[in-house]
C-alpha cells in the first residue's frame, strides 16, 4: 500500500498519522481527566458501565479515523463488503470471548459482576486488538509480522503496535492496586483495570507519536542529505 507511493507522499502520510495520534491522545487525556471524580455520568468511578461503553466507542472512533486518514479503504477489499464485515465481527467476538476467559482465569469473579467483566473484556479487545484488526485484517501472517517480529512498517502500524501492547500491559498493571487496603472506590473491580487500559492506550498513542516523529525526522534528514 505504501510501497508504490513516492517518498514525498510517504512523508505526508507519516505527518498525517502523527498529527492524528497526537490529537487523539490529547483528546483522550482530556476526556479521561475532566470527568474524573466528578460523579457525572461519564465518571468511571461512579458510573463504570456507562463510562466504559463511552470509552469503547471513543477508542473505536479514534482508531477508525487514524486508519481511515491514511488508507482510505479497509484491508481485504477484494471480498464483498458484507462478508468482510461479518468476518471481522466474528473475529472480534472470538477475541472478546478470549479476553473474558483470560480475565476470569486471572481471578475475576465468576458469579458476580459479570457485566463489568464483559465490559472490561470488550474495552480490552477494542484497545488491544482493534488497531491490529484495522491494519492487519484477519490475515494471520500480517499479525505475526507486526507483533511477533515487532516490525511495524508504515505509520498506522506503528500506532496499532504501540497502542495495543501498552493497553494490554496497562490492564495488567491495573490489577495491582486491587488487593491494597485503602478502601477507595476505584479499587473495585474492574475500575482500576479499566483505568489501566485507558492509561496504557493513551501512553501507547503518545509513544507512537514519538516513534513516528523520530521516523519522520530521519526521513526528512535523508531527504536533505
Amino acid at each position: 500500500m505504501t510501497a508504490d507511493k513516492t517518498p514525498h507522499s510517504a512523508r505526508k502520510v507519516l505527518k498525517r498519522t502523527l498529527t492524528w495520534s497526537l490529537f487523539c491522545s490529547l483528546a483522550s487525556l482530556i476526556l479521561l481527566l475532566i470527568p474524573f471524580n466528578s460523579g457525572t455520568i461519564l465518571d468511571l468511578v461512579s458510573n463504570c458501565l456507562v463510562a466504559t461503553k463511552m470509552w469503547i466507542s471513543v477508542i473505536l472512533i479514534q482508531i477508525f479515523f487514524i486508519c481511515k486518514s491514511v488508507t482510505h479503504s479497509m484491508p481485504g477489499k477484494q471480498q464483498s463488503k458484507v462478508g468482510c464485515l461479518l468476518k471481522y465481527v466474528a473475529v472480534f467476538l472470538a477475541i472478546v470471548t478470549f479476553f473474558c476467559v483470560i480475565t476470569i482465569l486471572f481471578g475475576a469473579p465468576l458469579t458476580e459482576s459479570r457485566a463489568e467483566t464483559f465490559h472490561f473484556a470488550v474495552l480490552l479487545s477494542v484497545a488491544g486488538t482493534f488497531p491490529g484488526l484495522m491494519t492487519c485484517g484477519v490475515n494471520l501472517d500480517e499479525w505475526s509480522r507486526l507483533y511477533v517480529l515487532s516490525s511495524p512498517e508504515y505509520g498506522v502500524e506503528v500506532v496499532a503496535y504501540w497502542t495495543s501492547l501498552c493497553s494490554i500491559f496497562g490492564a495488567w498493571l491495573g490489577a495491582f492496586p486491587i488487593p491494597l487496603d485503602w478502601d477507595r472506590p476505584w479499587q473495585v473491580w474492574p475500575i482500576s483495570c479499566v483505568l489501566g487500559t485507558l492509561g496504557g492506550y493513551i501512553i501507547g498513542l503518545i509513544l507512537s507519536s514519538v516513534h513516528l516523529f523520530i521516523k519522520y525526522y530521519k526521513m526528512a534528514r535523508q531527504k536533505h542529505l
Binding site: L105, D141, W172
Partner: protein, 1085 residues
Amino acid sequence: MGFTLSWRCIFIIDLVFILIGIATFMKGFFPLKRHLPGYAEAGNEDNSSTIKLKLISQITHYDKIVIVLIDALRADFVLNHSTPMKYVQTMMDRGKTLSYIVKANPPTVTLPRIKALTTGSIPGFIDVVMNFDSAALMEDNIITQMKRAGKRILFYGDDTWITLFPNHFVDHNVSRHLNFELQRLDWDVMILHYLGLDHIGHLAGPKSPLVKPKLQEMDDVIQKIYNALEKETTISSLILICGDHGMSDQGSHGGASVSEVTVPAVFLSPSFSNIPESSQGEIIQQIDLPPTLSVLLGIPIPKNNLGSVVTSTLIGYSKEEVLWFLYSNAEQIVKLFEANFENYDTDGSFEMYRLAVQEHSDWLDVMKSHGDSPVVDEKSRSIAYRYKLVIQSMTARISSSLTMYDMYSMITAVILLWLVLIKSSLAKVKRLPRNEGLQISRHSVSLMMVSIPLVGFCHVTVCTSHFHAESFLCGASQGSILLQLTIFVGLIFQVVVSLSIVLCSFHKLGAKKNSFCWSLFIGTVCHTLSLLSSSFVEEEHQTWYFLTMTFHILLLAKIFTTKMLQKAKRSANETSGEENTENYSKLSQHESHDNCSSYFHQENSGVNFHERKFQTCHKPSPDIRQFVNSPNEKEEKKYDEKERKKDDSLHSKYADPLCSTWNAVLGVLAVLILSRALRSLNQTGNKWLDRPDVGDWLTKPENKVWLSVTVIISLVTLLASICGVLSWLDRTLLLIGCFGVYRYRANTGDLIFFETPSSKASTEAWLVYAVIFIYFIKSLKSSFKLSSMISSLTSVGSKTPPSQFSIQSPDKLHCLHSHCKLDCIQSVENISSLQLQSTQQPILVTSLSLQNSGTLHTLQDHGRLQPKFRIPESPQILVAPCSQQNTGSLQVIHNCWILLMTLLMRPHNVAFVAMVTVQEILVERYLLGHMTLSTSYLTLYCLWMGEASFFYQGNSNSISTVDVSAGYVGLMVYQPVLVGMLLSLATYAGPIFWLLALVKYVHAQASCPTASLQENKARFGKEFTKVVHTLILTRALPLAAYTVLVTAQRYHLFVWTVFSPKLLYEGMFTVVIVVFSLVVLLICQ
C-alpha cells in the same frame, strides 16, 4: 597460597547460617512472657512473698452478676446522648449506673479480647503460637476462679467461650429460656455474649439503619434482666454491660484506631443510687475489668492479671475492704513482677510497695484501737494512692518488657542474612565454574585475621554498654557463648567468601537470557518488594496467583511466537526471495535469543547442535514418556509414519510439531483452568476472606453427600493419574491407601459410608501410613538391587577402551524407551543380563535420549525390546540406565507424598490434591518441553507453583488458618514432636509437592544418555548444586528484605496482626527449604 572450598560445602554452610539468622532474629523479635502457672488461692498460704497482711475475715460481695457482652459495642453506641438504648440512658440519668470508657489493647479481635477480659493479661503474639496444642485457656482466669468458688455459671454465646472454658458452664444456651432462668434465679453468674451487632458492622458498618433496632433489642434484654433482679430485694446483684472491641467507621475491627479500641462498660445495679453525673465516663483499661469483677464477686484475682481494681465501683464497701482489695491486687502484681525481673527488689516501685504495706498494717492497728476519724480516713486515702502507684508502675514495667525488642541480636541477624544474600548473588552473577570449587585467596584470609579481633571488640563493647546489656546474644551461659561464636564465625566466613568471589576472575559472561526467563526473575523480585506493604502481605496469595497466571500466559505467547516464527521460516525457505531475507535474519536473531537452557544442553549433551534452531522450535519435553527428534522434517515424517503404524496412540501426539503445539496450548489452558478452580476452592487472605467458597459449601453438614462424592471422584482421578505407569502390586497398594484415607474420614464422621462410624478412627490412618511406608521401602529395595547390578555392569564397561564410549554414529544409536517407569527396572535388568551373557560385550542401553540427533528407535515394552536388541552387530555402547531408574524412584517418592497429603488434609482438600497432581502431570508432559528453562529458572518456576499451591490449600499469612487437626491424624495422645512435624508437613504440603516435582524434572533434564555413570553423577551433582543455590537465593532475598522491614516498622500498628505472623511463616518455610536442600545435597553426593 590459599585453599579451595567446594561449592557444596559453601552451600551447606549457607543453609545453616540462614537458619541461624532467622532463628536469632525471631528470638530477638518475639519476647517471651513469663506466665505464672496454677490458680490463685483464696487464702494466701504460700509465704514466699515478702510481707503479708492478715486476711480480712468477712468480705461483702455481690450474689449475682450478669455480664452482658455485646460484640463490637462501640463506646458512642451507649455513652452518646442520642443512643438508641433508651432504657440504659434513663437509668444513667437516675444515677443507677456507673459508666466507664474502656480502652482495649490491639489486636481488637474477639478471641484475644475475651482472653484479656478473663485473665487480665495482655496476650503477646507468641502466646498464640505457643498455645497451639490446646484450645482451652490454661492461664488463671476469672471464669475458672468462679467455678472453683463453686458458683453456677450460665452462658449464652458462641463456641469461642465453650472451647476456651470447657466444662465450666452449667448451661450453654440461656437465650431461649432467659425469662425462665430469670425467674428461677438458681445461678450466680450469667454471661451473655451477643454477636449480632458485629455481624451488622461487618455487613453494613456502624451507620447502618440495622444498628439501631439491634441496640434497642439489647436494651430490652437489659431492661428485662434488671426488672427481674430488682424484684429480689434480699440478694445484691449487678449487671455489667460491655463490649469486647469497637468498630471502625467501615465496620471492621482488628486494628488500633480509636473507634476500634474504645468500648463502654456500664455497671448497673438496683443497689446503686444517686450516683452523680460527674463520676461517669472515667477512662479505664480493659484489663482492669477482670480484677474488678473478681473483687466484686469475692474471688481471688487471677495470677497473671496486669490490671488494677477500679475502686470507684466499690460502692458500699468499707475502707478496710477497699484497702484490702488494693493490697491483694498489688501483691498479685508484685508476684508477677518478681517472676519477670531478676533484680526486682532493687526497683523503686518494690520499695514503695513495701512502704505501703507497712503503712497499711500500721493503719489497721490504728483502726482497731481508735476507730474511725478524719485523720484515719486521710491516711487510708494516701495508702490507696500508694498502692495504685505501685500497681501502675509495675504494670508499665512488665508490659513494656513484653514489647521490648532485642535490637542487638536483630541487627546481627539482619547483617548475617544480607551477607548470605550478597554472597550468593555474587556467586550467581559471576557464573563461577561449579565443578572446581572456590579458591579462597590469601588476601581474604589475611583480612579474616584482622577482622576477628575487630568483631570481637565490637561485640564486647556493645555487650558492656548499658543499652544492650540484656540482649540474649550477650548471655554468659555455655549455649549462648556457643551461639555467639557460631554467629561471628558465620559473619566472618560470609565476608571472606564474598571477597574471594569478588577477587576471582570472571569466568564467563554469557548473555543468554531472554524476556521469557527474565519474567521469572523479575516476578520473584517483585514479590519481595510487595512484602513491604502490609496489605500485600495479607493478600500474598493474590500476588502468587497473579504471577503464576502471568507466567503461563507468557508461555502461551511464547508457544505462539515460536509457532509463527517457524511458519515464517518455512515460507522463507520456500520462496527464498530477496524480499524475505530481512525478515529471515530477524527470525534467526529471535531464535538465538530464544534458548535459555542452551547453556546446559549445549555443554552437556555432547551431540552436535548445528540444528539447534530447529530444535528450539519444537524441543521435546524432557519427560521420558515422550520424545521426538530428527535432524530434518522428511526423516521425521518417515519415522512418524513408521511409528504410527506400530503405536498410534502414543506417538501421533508428539510427532507432528503442529500437533505438539496445540497439545501444549491445551495443556497450558488446562493448567490455568485448574488454577482458577483451585483458587475458588479455598478463599483466603483478609479482604475477601468472608466470601463464600467451594470448600465452605462442601464442609457444611447438609452437603455431606456432595463432599463424599467429591472425595471419591478426586481419589479416583488421583489413582488414574498416578497409577498409569505402575505395576499391579503398586496399584493395589495405592488403592488400599486411598481406601484407607476414605475410611479414615468416614470414621471421623466427615464422609458417608455404608457402615456406622466406629470410635477408633486412627486405625485407618495407621493403615495408610503403613501403605506409604511399604510402598516407599519396596521401591527403594528395587532401586538398590538395580544399582548393585549397574555397578557390576559399569565395572565391565570400564575395561573397554574409552574410545568406545563416544558415539560412533548418531544414527546407529539405539535408544531404549521404556514406557513404564517401574516396570522398566525389571525389563532393563532382564535385557542387560541377557546381553551380557550372549554377546559378552559392553552394550550401553540408553534409557532415554533427549537432545541427541539421529534416528531413534523407540521401544515401548519388553515384547518389542528383546527382538530389537538382537539387531546390533557392531559393538554398541551401553549407557547405564541409572537415570531412568532414579526417575522411577523419584516418582515413587512423589506418589508417597501425594498419598500422605490426601491423608493429612481436610476432606474437601482431597480435591486440591487431585487437581494439583493433574496440574503437575500436565506441566511435566506438555509444558516443560516448551518452556526450555535452565535448572535455576526451573527451580524458580516450581517455587512459584509451590507458593501458589500453599495458598490454594487454604493457608494464609494469618495464624488462624493453620489446620491444627492435621497434626493429630492417627495419633491417640499429644506427642509434641510428631504433631509439630505432621502439622508443618501438612501446612507446607503444596510447596513440598512442587519441590519433589522439581527434583524429578531436574533429574530428567540432567540425565544424559550418552554419558557414563560417573559423568552422569557429576552432572546431577552440578545441577542439584544449582538448584540449591537458587533456593538459597530465593530464601535469603525475602528474608533479608523482610527482616529489615520488620525492624524498621517494629512500632507499626499492624506489627502483631500482619508482620509477625508472616515472619513466623517465613521462618517455617525457611526450615522446610533448608531441610529439603540439605537432603538433596547429601543424597546427590
